[in-house]
Subunit: 127 residues, 2 copies
DNA sequence: CCATGTGTTCGACTGTGGTCGTACAAGCAG
DNA sequence: CTGCTTGTACGACCACAGTCGAACACATGG
Protein backbone atom coordinates (compact mmCIF):
# COMPACT_ATOMS: atom_id res chain seq x y z
CA UNK A 1 0.00 0.00 0.00
CA UNK A 2 1.36 3.44 -0.86
CA UNK A 3 2.21 5.64 2.09
CA UNK A 4 -0.17 8.57 2.06
CA UNK A 5 2.20 10.80 3.99
CA UNK A 6 5.63 9.46 3.28
CA UNK A 7 7.92 11.82 5.14
CA UNK A 8 6.03 11.81 8.42
CA UNK A 9 7.97 10.70 11.53
CA UNK A 10 5.93 7.56 12.17
CA UNK A 11 5.64 6.63 15.81
CA UNK A 12 7.08 3.28 16.63
CA UNK A 13 4.72 0.38 16.97
CA UNK A 14 6.26 -2.66 18.55
CA UNK A 15 5.31 -6.14 17.39
CA UNK A 16 3.47 -8.18 19.94
CA UNK A 17 5.51 -10.90 21.70
CA UNK A 18 2.79 -13.33 20.61
CA UNK A 19 2.00 -14.56 24.12
CA UNK A 20 0.38 -11.36 25.28
CA UNK A 21 -2.36 -11.17 27.87
CA UNK A 22 -5.66 -9.92 26.52
CA UNK A 23 -6.09 -6.15 26.54
CA UNK A 24 -8.45 -4.63 29.04
CA UNK A 25 -11.85 -3.57 27.65
CA UNK A 26 -11.51 -0.71 25.20
CA UNK A 27 -13.56 0.89 22.41
CA UNK A 28 -13.26 -0.47 18.90
CA UNK A 29 -11.41 1.55 16.30
CA UNK A 30 -14.76 2.34 14.68
CA UNK A 31 -16.19 3.46 18.01
CA UNK A 32 -13.53 6.09 18.66
CA UNK A 33 -15.13 9.50 19.04
CA UNK A 34 -13.10 12.62 18.46
CA UNK A 35 -14.88 14.68 21.11
CA UNK A 36 -14.26 11.98 23.72
CA UNK A 37 -10.61 11.66 22.70
CA UNK A 38 -10.11 15.41 22.89
CA UNK A 39 -11.80 15.50 26.26
CA UNK A 40 -9.41 12.89 27.57
CA UNK A 41 -6.51 14.96 26.27
CA UNK A 42 -7.76 18.20 27.83
CA UNK A 43 -6.06 17.40 31.14
CA UNK A 44 -2.36 18.39 31.24
CA UNK A 45 -1.46 15.30 33.23
CA UNK A 46 -3.13 12.99 30.75
CA UNK A 47 -1.82 14.56 27.56
CA UNK A 48 1.57 14.46 29.24
CA UNK A 49 1.23 10.73 29.77
CA UNK A 50 0.39 10.11 26.12
CA UNK A 51 3.18 12.40 24.98
CA UNK A 52 5.71 10.65 27.19
CA UNK A 53 4.68 7.30 25.78
CA UNK A 54 4.99 8.61 22.23
CA UNK A 55 8.37 10.24 22.65
CA UNK A 56 10.31 8.38 25.31
CA UNK A 57 9.03 4.85 24.93
CA UNK A 58 11.97 2.55 24.38
CA UNK A 59 10.29 -0.74 25.15
CA UNK A 60 7.00 -2.29 24.16
CA UNK A 61 4.92 -0.70 26.87
CA UNK A 62 5.25 0.81 30.32
CA UNK A 63 3.87 0.52 33.79
CA UNK A 64 2.18 3.35 35.65
CA UNK A 65 5.24 3.85 37.84
CA UNK A 66 7.44 4.40 34.80
CA UNK A 67 6.22 7.98 34.55
CA UNK A 68 7.60 10.31 37.19
CA UNK A 69 4.19 11.27 38.53
CA UNK A 70 4.05 12.08 42.22
CA UNK A 71 0.35 11.48 42.64
CA UNK A 72 -1.39 8.86 44.72
CA UNK A 73 -2.01 5.56 43.02
CA UNK A 74 -5.76 5.95 42.93
CA UNK A 75 -5.38 9.17 40.98
CA UNK A 76 -3.19 7.46 38.40
CA UNK A 77 -5.65 4.60 38.10
CA UNK A 78 -8.36 7.14 37.34
CA UNK A 79 -6.41 8.96 34.63
CA UNK A 80 -5.17 5.80 32.94
CA UNK A 81 -8.70 4.47 32.84
CA UNK A 82 -9.97 7.68 31.24
CA UNK A 83 -7.29 7.38 28.58
CA UNK A 84 -8.09 3.72 27.96
CA UNK A 85 -11.85 4.20 27.81
CA UNK A 86 -11.41 7.09 25.39
CA UNK A 87 -9.37 4.75 23.18
CA UNK A 88 -6.00 6.41 23.50
CA UNK A 89 -4.24 3.70 25.48
CA UNK A 90 -4.24 -0.07 25.40
CA UNK A 91 -3.56 -1.72 28.74
CA UNK A 92 -2.48 -5.27 29.47
CA UNK A 93 -2.02 -7.04 32.77
CA UNK A 94 1.40 -8.64 33.20
CA UNK A 95 1.15 -10.52 36.46
CA UNK A 96 1.69 -7.82 39.03
CA UNK A 97 1.82 -4.79 36.84
CA UNK A 98 -0.42 -3.20 34.25
CA UNK A 99 1.36 -1.86 31.19
CA UNK A 100 0.15 0.79 28.79
CA UNK A 101 0.86 1.68 25.20
CA UNK A 102 -0.58 4.22 22.79
CA UNK A 103 -2.96 2.81 20.15
CA UNK A 104 -0.86 4.32 17.40
CA UNK A 105 -2.36 2.46 14.45
CA UNK A 106 -5.97 3.06 15.42
CA UNK A 107 -5.40 6.73 16.15
CA UNK A 108 -3.45 7.39 12.95
CA UNK A 109 -6.21 5.70 10.98
CA UNK A 110 -9.09 7.55 12.55
CA UNK A 111 -7.53 10.91 13.41
CA UNK A 112 -4.47 11.51 11.22
CA UNK A 113 -2.24 14.22 12.61
CA UNK A 114 -3.54 13.98 16.15
CA UNK A 115 -0.47 12.16 17.49
CA UNK A 116 1.80 14.78 15.97
CA UNK A 117 -0.11 17.46 17.85
CA UNK A 118 0.24 15.53 21.09
CA UNK A 119 3.95 14.98 20.53
CA UNK A 120 4.44 18.72 20.00
CA UNK A 121 2.67 19.63 23.23
CA UNK A 122 4.68 21.25 26.02
CA UNK A 123 3.64 21.33 29.65
CA UNK A 124 2.62 24.68 31.13
CA UNK A 125 4.66 26.58 33.72
CA UNK A 126 7.97 25.14 32.53
CA UNK A 127 10.53 27.97 32.31
CA UNK B 1 6.72 33.74 3.03
CA UNK B 2 6.80 30.25 1.55
CA UNK B 3 3.81 28.04 2.31
CA UNK B 4 5.02 25.25 4.51
CA UNK B 5 2.22 22.87 3.53
CA UNK B 6 1.35 23.70 -0.03
CA UNK B 7 -1.20 21.11 -1.12
CA UNK B 8 -3.43 21.22 1.94
CA UNK B 9 -7.06 22.24 1.43
CA UNK B 10 -6.72 25.60 3.13
CA UNK B 11 -9.80 26.86 4.89
CA UNK B 12 -11.02 30.15 3.56
CA UNK B 13 -9.93 33.26 5.38
CA UNK B 14 -11.84 36.35 4.34
CA UNK B 15 -10.07 39.69 4.11
CA UNK B 16 -11.19 42.17 6.65
CA UNK B 17 -13.49 44.95 5.35
CA UNK B 18 -10.99 47.42 6.81
CA UNK B 19 -13.52 49.19 9.04
CA UNK B 20 -13.99 46.31 11.44
CA UNK B 21 -14.89 46.69 15.10
CA UNK B 22 -12.18 45.59 17.47
CA UNK B 23 -12.27 41.88 18.36
CA UNK B 24 -13.38 40.93 21.83
CA UNK B 25 -10.57 39.98 24.25
CA UNK B 26 -8.86 36.79 23.18
CA UNK B 27 -5.56 34.99 23.84
CA UNK B 28 -2.57 35.81 21.70
CA UNK B 29 -1.40 33.29 19.14
CA UNK B 30 1.60 32.56 21.35
CA UNK B 31 -0.67 32.05 24.36
CA UNK B 32 -2.74 29.32 22.74
CA UNK B 33 -2.55 26.13 24.81
CA UNK B 34 -3.32 22.81 23.19
CA UNK B 35 -4.90 21.30 26.31
CA UNK B 36 -7.23 24.28 26.65
CA UNK B 37 -8.14 24.16 22.95
CA UNK B 38 -8.86 20.44 23.14
CA UNK B 39 -10.94 20.96 26.25
CA UNK B 40 -13.04 23.53 24.45
CA UNK B 41 -13.55 21.05 21.60
CA UNK B 42 -14.52 18.20 23.90
CA UNK B 43 -18.15 19.30 23.92
CA UNK B 44 -20.16 18.04 20.92
CA UNK B 45 -22.09 21.29 20.65
CA UNK B 46 -18.91 23.35 20.57
CA UNK B 47 -16.94 21.25 18.12
CA UNK B 48 -20.08 21.30 15.98
CA UNK B 49 -20.06 25.08 16.00
CA UNK B 50 -16.44 25.25 14.88
CA UNK B 51 -17.01 22.59 12.24
CA UNK B 52 -20.06 24.41 10.87
CA UNK B 53 -18.05 27.61 10.60
CA UNK B 54 -15.25 25.79 8.80
CA UNK B 55 -17.43 23.95 6.32
CA UNK B 56 -20.52 26.02 5.66
CA UNK B 57 -19.26 29.54 6.10
CA UNK B 58 -20.11 31.51 2.99
CA UNK B 59 -19.69 34.99 4.32
CA UNK B 60 -17.06 36.66 6.44
CA UNK B 61 -18.48 35.59 9.76
CA UNK B 62 -21.73 34.57 11.36
CA UNK B 63 -24.03 35.47 14.20
CA UNK B 64 -25.02 33.10 16.97
CA UNK B 65 -28.46 32.64 15.46
CA UNK B 66 -26.98 31.49 12.15
CA UNK B 67 -26.45 28.04 13.63
CA UNK B 68 -29.61 26.02 14.07
CA UNK B 69 -29.15 25.55 17.80
CA UNK B 70 -32.33 25.30 19.82
CA UNK B 71 -30.81 26.27 23.11
CA UNK B 72 -31.54 29.33 25.23
CA UNK B 73 -29.47 32.36 24.42
CA UNK B 74 -27.58 32.31 27.69
CA UNK B 75 -26.35 28.81 26.93
CA UNK B 76 -25.05 29.90 23.54
CA UNK B 77 -23.34 32.90 25.10
CA UNK B 78 -21.55 30.53 27.44
CA UNK B 79 -20.32 28.17 24.72
CA UNK B 80 -19.21 30.93 22.37
CA UNK B 81 -17.27 32.52 25.17
CA UNK B 82 -15.51 29.23 25.95
CA UNK B 83 -14.52 28.93 22.31
CA UNK B 84 -13.29 32.51 22.19
CA UNK B 85 -11.32 32.33 25.44
CA UNK B 86 -9.70 29.11 24.28
CA UNK B 87 -8.60 30.94 21.14
CA UNK B 88 -10.70 29.06 18.60
CA UNK B 89 -13.06 31.86 17.65
CA UNK B 90 -12.70 35.58 17.09
CA UNK B 91 -15.79 37.61 17.87
CA UNK B 92 -16.70 41.11 16.78
CA UNK B 93 -19.62 43.30 17.71
CA UNK B 94 -21.56 44.64 14.72
CA UNK B 95 -24.13 46.95 16.22
CA UNK B 96 -26.85 44.60 17.32
CA UNK B 97 -25.22 41.29 16.65
CA UNK B 98 -22.01 39.58 17.59
CA UNK B 99 -20.35 37.66 14.77
CA UNK B 100 -17.87 34.82 15.05
CA UNK B 101 -15.19 33.39 12.83
CA UNK B 102 -12.59 30.67 13.28
CA UNK B 103 -9.02 31.88 13.86
CA UNK B 104 -7.81 29.83 10.92
CA UNK B 105 -4.36 31.38 10.54
CA UNK B 106 -3.46 31.23 14.21
CA UNK B 107 -4.66 27.66 14.59
CA UNK B 108 -2.93 26.41 11.47
CA UNK B 109 0.28 28.03 12.64
CA UNK B 110 0.21 26.64 16.17
CA UNK B 111 -1.60 23.31 15.70
CA UNK B 112 -1.25 22.17 12.08
CA UNK B 113 -3.78 19.52 11.21
CA UNK B 114 -6.18 20.34 13.99
CA UNK B 115 -8.71 22.07 11.75
CA UNK B 116 -8.75 19.08 9.41
CA UNK B 117 -9.64 16.86 12.34
CA UNK B 118 -12.45 19.19 13.34
CA UNK B 119 -13.78 19.35 9.79
CA UNK B 120 -13.86 15.55 9.63
CA UNK B 121 -15.84 15.26 12.85
CA UNK B 122 -19.38 13.91 12.68
CA UNK B 123 -22.01 14.41 15.37
CA UNK B 124 -23.07 11.39 17.45
CA UNK B 125 -26.47 9.71 17.22
CA UNK B 126 -27.04 10.72 13.62
CA UNK B 127 -28.41 7.71 11.75
C1' DC C 1 -41.14 57.40 22.62
C1' DC C 2 -42.05 52.58 22.38
C1' DA C 3 -41.59 47.92 20.52
C1' DT C 4 -38.61 44.46 18.70
C1' DG C 5 -34.62 41.71 18.17
C1' DT C 6 -29.92 40.36 19.67
C1' DG C 7 -27.10 39.13 23.11
C1' DT C 8 -25.17 39.70 28.00
C1' DT C 9 -25.13 39.10 33.01
C1' DC C 10 -26.60 37.12 37.19
C1' DG C 11 -28.00 33.56 40.10
C1' DA C 12 -29.42 28.94 40.81
C1' DC C 13 -29.51 23.97 40.17
C1' DT C 14 -27.44 19.68 38.86
C1' DG C 15 -24.10 16.55 37.32
C1' DT C 16 -19.64 15.27 36.69
C1' DG C 17 -14.47 15.38 37.13
C1' DG C 18 -10.17 15.70 39.65
C1' DT C 19 -8.03 14.60 44.05
C1' DC C 20 -7.10 11.81 47.78
C1' DG C 21 -7.20 8.27 51.88
C1' DT C 22 -8.24 3.99 53.08
C1' DA C 23 -9.19 -0.64 52.41
C1' DC C 24 -8.77 -4.53 49.55
C1' DA C 25 -7.13 -8.08 45.75
C1' DA C 26 -3.49 -10.52 43.48
C1' DG C 27 1.28 -12.10 42.30
C1' DC C 28 5.77 -13.06 43.99
C1' DA C 29 9.83 -13.74 47.44
C1' DG C 30 11.47 -15.18 51.67
C1' DC D 1 2.40 -18.41 56.04
C1' DT D 2 4.20 -13.57 56.20
C1' DG D 3 5.40 -9.82 54.10
C1' DC D 4 6.17 -6.73 49.91
C1' DT D 5 4.76 -4.72 45.68
C1' DT D 6 1.45 -3.12 42.08
C1' DG D 7 -2.74 -1.60 41.25
C1' DT D 8 -7.99 -1.52 41.93
C1' DA D 9 -12.39 -0.19 44.39
C1' DC D 10 -14.97 2.64 47.15
C1' DG D 11 -16.31 6.69 49.26
C1' DA D 12 -15.75 11.49 50.31
C1' DC D 13 -14.83 16.22 49.27
C1' DC D 14 -14.61 20.23 46.40
C1' DA D 15 -14.55 22.80 42.35
C1' DC D 16 -16.16 23.64 38.03
C1' DA D 17 -19.07 22.93 33.73
C1' DG D 18 -23.45 22.68 31.44
C1' DT D 19 -28.16 24.20 31.59
C1' DC D 20 -31.67 27.43 32.10
C1' DG D 21 -34.85 31.46 33.50
C1' DA D 22 -35.20 36.12 34.41
C1' DA D 23 -33.65 40.73 34.11
C1' DC D 24 -30.98 44.01 31.79
C1' DA D 25 -28.31 46.64 27.87
C1' DC D 26 -28.19 48.26 23.30
C1' DA D 27 -29.29 49.43 18.45
C1' DT D 28 -32.74 49.80 15.08
C1' DG D 29 -37.44 50.65 13.09
C1' DG D 30 -41.92 52.04 13.43
Amino acid sequence: MPPTTAARPAFRTFPAPADLPEPLPEPTRADLRLDVVLGALSDPLRIGIVRALLLEAEAFDHTCGWFGLDRPKSTLTHHFRVLREAGLLRQRQYGLERRSQVRVDDLQARFPGLLDLIAAWTPPEAP
